[in-house]
């Protein structure tokens, strides 16, 4: 089984098996997966991203918009409606 990681701007964005990304050993994959499963919970103002050294970096996020321009159903219809 080929394992890989996807790096973006010095952070581990994702891991996977199959094609793509930077190849990992299975041990490295399991180590990163364990780190992902230990992610600190997101709050309304902070979230975390995974550094390549498998430590979590806290960063600020914008608080929720109490009055979005489009509700979720409309957003999904806009994104996913229609045929090719």
């Amino acid at each position: 089984m080929r394992c890989y990681k996807i790096i973006s701007d010095g952070y581990i964005l994702a891991i996977g098996t199959g094609n793509g990304g930077t190849e990992l050993t299975e041990a490295e994959y399991n180590e990163i997966l364990s780190a992902i499963q230990s992610k600190p919970p997101r709050t309304e103002t902070t979230d975390y991203r995974l550094r390549e050294d498998l430590t979590w970096e806290e960063y600020e996020v914008e608080p929720p918009d109490p009055d979005p321009d489009m509700d979720d159903a409309e957003a999904f219809q806009y994104l996913f409606g229609g045929d090719t």
């Binding site: 994702a14 996977g16 992902i36 309304e44 929720p64 979005p68 090719t84």
Partner: protein, 174 residues
């Protein structure tokens, strides 16, 4: 050649025939085999892997909530006849948890923000349509059939302010 052992030739012939029959059955042949050279070559010629359809599988796990615009496109990189995707994600609309839905879509050789053809009838369907209106993550099993297509799991960059949470999917194609 020196004689160092007496054997029962009838039994020996029966034993060799038994081995030759097994080789012929496995290799799907019927010709006589001379011991030992043709035994060896016949065994070497037997196909490996069972001759079944090529199967490719893969998985993907996001490390954290990710901006929609930052999701990578992953090229599965093969032509397939059938693909099954199991995926589990929550859609964080505008920074808050909102209706669950499957964000990733299988794009036939396409990139972000484009619809796909994903079913046998040839009409388009988007895996991303939500199947639940509550805040729980939606799960979907999808079976599509499109011969000769290379599929790309792609995110969508149309909503840069939206986050995807807990995206994980597993796929198999053959």
């Amino acid at each position: 050649m020196a004689v160092d052992k007496l054997v029962d030739s009838t039994q020996l012939d029966a034993d060799l025939t038994s081995v030759a029959d097994a080789i012929r059955t496995k290799g799907g042949t019927s010709a006589d085999l001379a011991f030992p050279a043709e035994f060896v070559s016949a065994i070497a010629a037997i196909p490996t892997g069972g001759g079944g359809a090529n199967l490719a599988t893969g998985s993907f796990t996001l490390s954290a909530d990710t901006l929609a615009s930052a999701l990578p496109a992953i090229n599965v990189g093969f032509d397939y006849s059938t693909i099954i995707v199991y995926t589990n994600a929550s859609w964080l609309g505008n920074g808050k948890r909102s209706a669950g839905g499957i964000f990733y879509r299988i794009a036939s050789g396409k990139t972000y923000g484009q619809n796909v053809s994903t079913n046998t009838s040839g009409s388009s369907a988007n895996i991303g349509a939500p199947t639940t209106s509550n805040s729980e993550a939606a799960k979907i099993n999808y079976v599509g059939q499109k011969v000769g297509q290379t599929f790309v799991f792609a995110g969508d960059s149309q909503w840069p302010g939206y986050y995807i949470s807990g995206l994980q999917y597993f796929w198999a194609a053959w």
